[in-house]
């Protein structure tokens, strides 16, 4: 092939390539937009339902947008104290307001995430620097996370609700139960999220060069001082990311909360599930409003740590 022929062939190929590229682009965007519609539709439907009045929840044909938008559902879930007659839908003992659930969820999730973060960071540091627990300790931790929560839930329920009261009343004469308490839920959340914290923090701590610590040690800093003044400032952003990630996990947790608490402690996920009444069936509107309120903060937090999500969900096996 002469160079001229090659030139012409190359030009033809390029023109074909450009044309094909355009077709590809259109097909690609069509597919991606279809998926976008599929993703956003359920969310759109929830937000739309949260503004509908009770008559429109299950109207046929369904109303895509509320015909008479109302804030009634939000007023109902955000009401303080006893519901006044204009807000309550019927005389049931349903707890309609969200404040208790919101408070409990905040308290439990924040304290469990903080506890897990502190313990997990410290342990991750120890694993990274001193190889504590041997070569396979990291993997043992991972296995804890893989156990289905229902298996843990049954064991913990028996422990909290039966064994501990039985043992304490036999030993000390006082029945102490961890069932349906904040401490019980915080403890179990801490344990179930510790593997995530340890694996995520390992990826951050492994990146801190050991020479920095070594230099500080040579200059006379104690171990705790090295940890506080060298390591922690360097992994602070990683700790924030890990905290948010674990917080989202705890916020979304349902099975353990449903199992280990009944009337007293109510996290938001459990509250959402409670919105059923014998008189009116499912209260779709208030459920939608709660769903929206529950979703917004975690989606915002999640998008803030978007870059690190893959690290968290893959236990640091994928690092970027």
């Amino acid at each position: 092939m002469t160079s001229a022929q090659a030139d012409i062939a190359a030009k033809g190929a390029r023109a074909r390539k450009v044309r094909r590229g355009r077709v590809h682009r259109i097909v690609r965007h069509a597919a991606l937009l279809a998926w976008t519609a599929f993703i956003t539709f359920p969310i759109f439907w929830m937000v739309s339902t949260s503004f509908k009045d009770s008559g429109e929840w299950v109207a046929w044909p369904p109303h895509w947008l509320p015909h008479e938008p109302t804030l009634h559902n939000y007023a109902q879930i955000f009401a303080f104290g006893a519901l006044d007659p204009t807000l309550s839908r019927q005389a049931t003992e349903q707890a309609f307001t969200i404040w208790k659930g919101l408070g409990d969820a905040m308290l439990v999730c924040t304290s469990a995430s903080l506890l897990a973060l502190l313990l997990g960071t410290f342990l991750a540091y120890s694993i990274s620097r001193f190889n504590v627990g041997g070569k396979y300790f990291r993997h043992t931790i991972l296995m804890i996370r893989m156990i289905p929560p229902i298996v843990i839930a049954i064991a913990i329920l028996i422990y909290y609700a039966i064994i501990i009261p039985y043992a304490t009343s036999a030993l000390f004469g006082v029945r102490v139960s961890l069932f349906d308490t904040y401490i019980g839920l915080v403890l179990i959340y801490t344990v179930t999220t510790l593997p995530f914290v340890i694996w995520m923090m390992l990826t951050f701590i492994d990146e801190v060069p050991y020479t920095l610590e070594h230099a500080a040690r040579l200059m006379g800093a104690g171990r705790f001082e090295v940890l506080r003044r060298i390591v922690l400032p360097l992994v602070a952003s990683g700790m924030v990311v890990t905290f948010l990630f674990v917080f989202i996990l705890n916020w979304a947790e349902f099975l353990l909360a449903l199992t280990l608490t009944h009337p007293e402690v109510t996290t938001l996920t459990v509250l959402l599930n409670k919105f059923q009444s014998a008189a009116e069936g499912r209260l779709y509107g208030p459920q939608a409003a709660i769903g929206t309120v529950v979703t917004i903060p975690v989606v915002i937090l999640g998008l803030l740590i978007q870059k690190h999500l893959v690290k968290g969900f893959s236990f640091g096996t994928i690092r970027k």
């Binding site: 929830m46 120890s126 229902i150 028996i158 200059m219």
Partner: protein, 325 residues
């Protein structure tokens, strides 16, 4: 760091004498210091996981129902295990769990892979698509269950969209999807796919971003067609990401519980009872604590082989990703 050295060195002598500082020094010695967090975490695990498990094994050997006093329980050996192993319900629930997990994970992998491939070829719109596609992952699973229950109800948008087709055949478009066993099963699978395709998408997107460009370009230059480049170069390089996605998603899919509660409560009949839901119902609705304890111990044994294999694969793939021996 200079500050550290000036404050720490002169104090060292004075500190050495008081018992508190001696204790602090003992804590800071490497032999002890490395074990502090280890002991704390181990203590927590023993207290909150290990002791309950040992006690669960014990409870599983008793015959006792929660509505009677604990003192009436009596030892029956392995009877509970026999009940579980001969219970059709248990095996059906387990089979159903694998059936849900299998289809859901397969769909998530294919869809996530295709989406990641398409998005990775975008230029300016990449960020927008990525942000939107990640949203389902962050939505609380129970809310996802609620959202889909709204879509599947007899006067929901799904039936409205299908109505023109159905009315042509004289079918009443107000179908109760969740009342039909097979439709309810696929409703749950669809909800799972909706939520977790975002995770496989994210994993594959990182995989595509980490592909060594020079290898792909080299293949192009050597005259490989896009098809060949994909099958012979890109796909083998993406294998670790695929394995990681399969393991992580399968492990999570086997835990399926939240959407079942919100969508179907295990019904109609028992057609959507996953093993998690089945156990939950046995313990919380029927108060069969010993049965639940025995079943959860058995489940742990059944799953532990899978878990062990999963962790082994994850770790070996991690080595492959990092290239360290």
């Amino acid at each position: 760091m200079v500050e550290v050295s000036t404050s720490a060195v002169p104090l060292a002598d004075a500190e050495r004498r008081s018992p508190v500082s001696r204790f602090a020094r003992w804590l800071a010695s490497e032999r002890v210091f490395r074990l502090i967090p280890f002991v704390m975490v181990e203590a927590l695990f023993i207290l909150v996981v290990l002791i309950p498990f040992v006690l669960t094994v014990w409870i599983s050997l008793l015959k006792w129902r929660a509505n009677r006093p604990f003192e009436t329980a009596r030892f029956t050996g392995l009877e509970n295990y026999e009940t579980v192993l001969t219970s059709d319900q248990f095996w059906l629930a387990l089979g159903r769990t694998f059936y849900f997990a299998g289809f859901a994970v397969a769909l998530e992998l294919v869809l996530g892979f295709v989406l990641a491939m398409l998005v990775s070829r975008c230029t300016w719109s990449k960020k927008v698509y990525t942000t939107i596609f990640l949203i389902p992952m962050m939505i609380v699973p129970i809310v996802v269950g609620y959202n889909f229950s709204m879509i599947y109800i007899d006067s929901g948008p799904l039936n409205q969209i299908l109505a023109p087709f159905l009315e042509r055949f004289g079918i009443d478009p107000r179908i109760r999807w969740l009342s039909h066993p097979v439709a309810a099963q696929w409703a749950i699978i669809l909800a799972d796919v909706w939520q977790w395709t975002s995770l496989t998408f994210l994993i594959f997107l990182s995989g595509f971003a980490a592909l060594p460009r020079q290898l792909v370009n080299a293949a192009r230059v050597m005259g490989a067609s896009p098809w060949q480049t994909f099958w012979r170069v890109e796909l083998p390089l993406l294998k670790p990401a695929i394995v990681i996605a399969v393991i992580i998603r399968s492990m999570e899919a086997l835990k399926l519980f939240d959407p079942v509660v919100l969508l179907t409560f295990g019904g109609p009949g028992t057609s959507t009872q996953t093993v998690a839901y089945f156990l939950w119902e046995q313990v919380w609705v029927f108060n069969k604590f010993s049965f639940g304890a025995a079943a959860s111990i058995l489940l742990l044994f059944i799953f532990s082989a899978l878990i062990f294999f999963g962790v082994y694969m994850l770790v070996s793939q991690r080595r492959a990703v990092e290239g360290s021996p």
